[in-house]
């Protein structure tokens, strides 16, 4: 773990709150995420996990608190969020590939239009990453021609093509048929081994145990417990977490 004193966190969330009208979806959340951390967020449905993740890149606007990303407060109206988002890759439950573009175009449109890469450079990088996830032969296919597991691997590669400093995953395997979960987790495991900083919302407890450097338990919009995975799963402290783990393990 990189949580030693003195190092500045990559992401520092300070007293984050998010209200939907009267509902407090996030209630005073504070977390520090350091470079190389693989933070898993678990908790019952409706506890605010997605909202938390989406606030990190401001797909959802927070109602209170601050988020420092690489030292800059990105909740500040004046910051150019489009610039910071390029450094935060996001992977969605529903993949959200662009259906009107080939796989290759899905992967290169960001680097080409946002980072001024040449077509050749963007495509070379995309092909290199496609090779790594075993999908180089599908470069010219359209998303509708792929299986769910393939789509999600492409979605991960699309985010990676932007060379992000952190990757956010919102239940990346929840929409997949069981036999396709493994191939997506394998890609994520590789990323973790390469020390990519990751924040992962998931229900895959076994995977969390194996890959996480830290696990956070959320309920009712609050962080109830936070620990390294061994302690978290073997010796949960709060009743809520014990109860939750007894149901999902």
């Amino acid at each position: 773990m990189n949580t030693e004193l003195g190092k500045t966190p990559l992401i520092e969330v300070m007293n984050l709150t998010k209200k939907f009208h009267d509902l407090k979806a996030l209630d005073d959340i504070s977390v520090k995420i350091y470079e190389g951390d693989v933070v898993f967020v678990i908790g019952p449905s409706g506890s605010g996990k997605s909202t938390f993740l989406r606030c990190l890149n401001r797909l959802e606007e927070s109602t209170g608190g601050k988020i420092l990303f690489e030292g800059i407060d990105i909740t500040d109206e004046k910051c150019d969020i489009d610039l910071h988002r390029q450094k935060m890759g996001m992977v969605f439950q529903q993949f959200n590939l662009f259906p009107h573009m080939t796989i290759l175009k899905n992967l290169t449109i960001g680097p080409q239009k946002l980072q001024n890469k040449t077509k050749e450079a963007a495509e070379a990088e995309a092909m290199r990453l496609l090779e790594r996830v075993g999908l180089a032969d599908r470069a010219q296919a359209y998303p509708s021609q792929l299986s769910g597991g393939q789509k999600q691997r492409i979605a991960i590669v699309r985010a990676l093509c932007m060379k992000p400093d952190v990757m956010l995953f919102d239940e990346p395997t929840s929409a997949l048929d069981p036999e396709m979960v493994g191939e997506v987790l394998a890609v994520m495991r590789d990323l973790a081994e390469e020390k990519m900083t990751m924040v992962v919302v998931t229900h895959e407890m076994g995977f969390a145990k194996e890959v996480a450097t830290r696990v956070i338990f959320m309920a009712d919009g609050k962080i109830m417990e936070e620990n390294e995975p061994g302690q978290f799963f073997e010796h949960p402290e709060s009743e809520r977490l014990k109860n939750f783990l007894s149901k999902v393990l």
């Binding site: 996001m90 969605f92 662009f98 449109i109 359209y142 998303p143």
Partner: protein, 230 residues
């Protein structure tokens, strides 16, 4: 019987080169429709962008208000009244080509319907597409251009094509401002020959053929779009 029809044909179209009323009128109708369609797409596109930006982000409140006003007025009044107001009120004191007046009136009319079609198309694109674009780092505007609009337009292409068929037929009221379009051309022949059947049926057949031809293209287009999954 045949001879009677033949005589009527000669009388209505060949004598005094009366067919020219039809030909010139057809040209005017096509001209008005073509340019009104272009104006309509342009306006409709702008209005749709303003309206859906407001729906999605709450921005452009004032512009959205004016767009709503435009849509309400255009869709709540008859096109003939709009045409008459454009000619006699808005351009009443200036000497202006009637074709241009018709293009403006029908273009603004069509724009309102096109706007709602395109806006429907934008709203029909999954919100996840928008979020994927934004999360890569694309601005709202560039997400629209690269990701949302291509999908939206594909969804509404048949509906847009239909709108143009409607417009082609609607221009037949251009005679209200004494513009000699296809309909007016047929009517002029009728008033000269005192024969209603031949010229009016001819006009109807020409409209019908144009609409059928266009419909055929729309059907082809729909089929091609259905077959290509992406």
């Amino acid at each position: 019987m045949f001879e009677k029809l033949m005589n009527s044909f000669l009388h209505n179209f060949i004598e005094e080169e009366r067919w020219k009323y039809i030909a010139d009128g057809l040209f005017v109708t096509l001209q008005v429709t073509f340019f009104a369609v272009i104006l309509g797409i342009f306006l409709g596109f702008l209005v749709a962008m303003v309206r859906s930006t407001y729906d999605k982000t709450g921005k452009l409140k004032l512009l959205n208000f004016f767009c709503n006003l435009y849509l309400t007025v255009i869709r709540g009044t008859p096109v003939v009244v709009q045409l008459l107001i454009t000619y006699f009120v808005i351009f009443g004191s200036v000497n202006i080509d009637k074709v241009l007046v018709a293009v403006i009136a029908f273009g603004f009319n069509s724009g309102a319907y096109v706007a709602e079609i395109i806006r429907g198309g934008i709203m029909s694109v999954d919100q996840g597409q928008f979020e994927a674009g934004r999360s890569l780092g694309f601005s709202y505007f560039r997400t629209m251009i690269y990701i949302i609009l291509p999908q939206a337009l594909k969804n509404v292409l048949p509906a847009l094509a239909n709108e143009f068929i409607v417009l082609l037929k609607e221009t037949s009221v251009a005679g209200y401002i004494a513009l000699q379009d296809l309909t007016k051309g047929g009517d002029i022949i009728r008033s000269r020959t005192y024969d209603a059947f031949m010229p009016l049926i001819a006009v109807a057949v020409i409209y019908l053929l144009m609409v059928m031809l266009f419909n055929y293209f729309v059907k082809q287009l729909e089929r091609r779009l259905r077959n290509s999954e992406h």
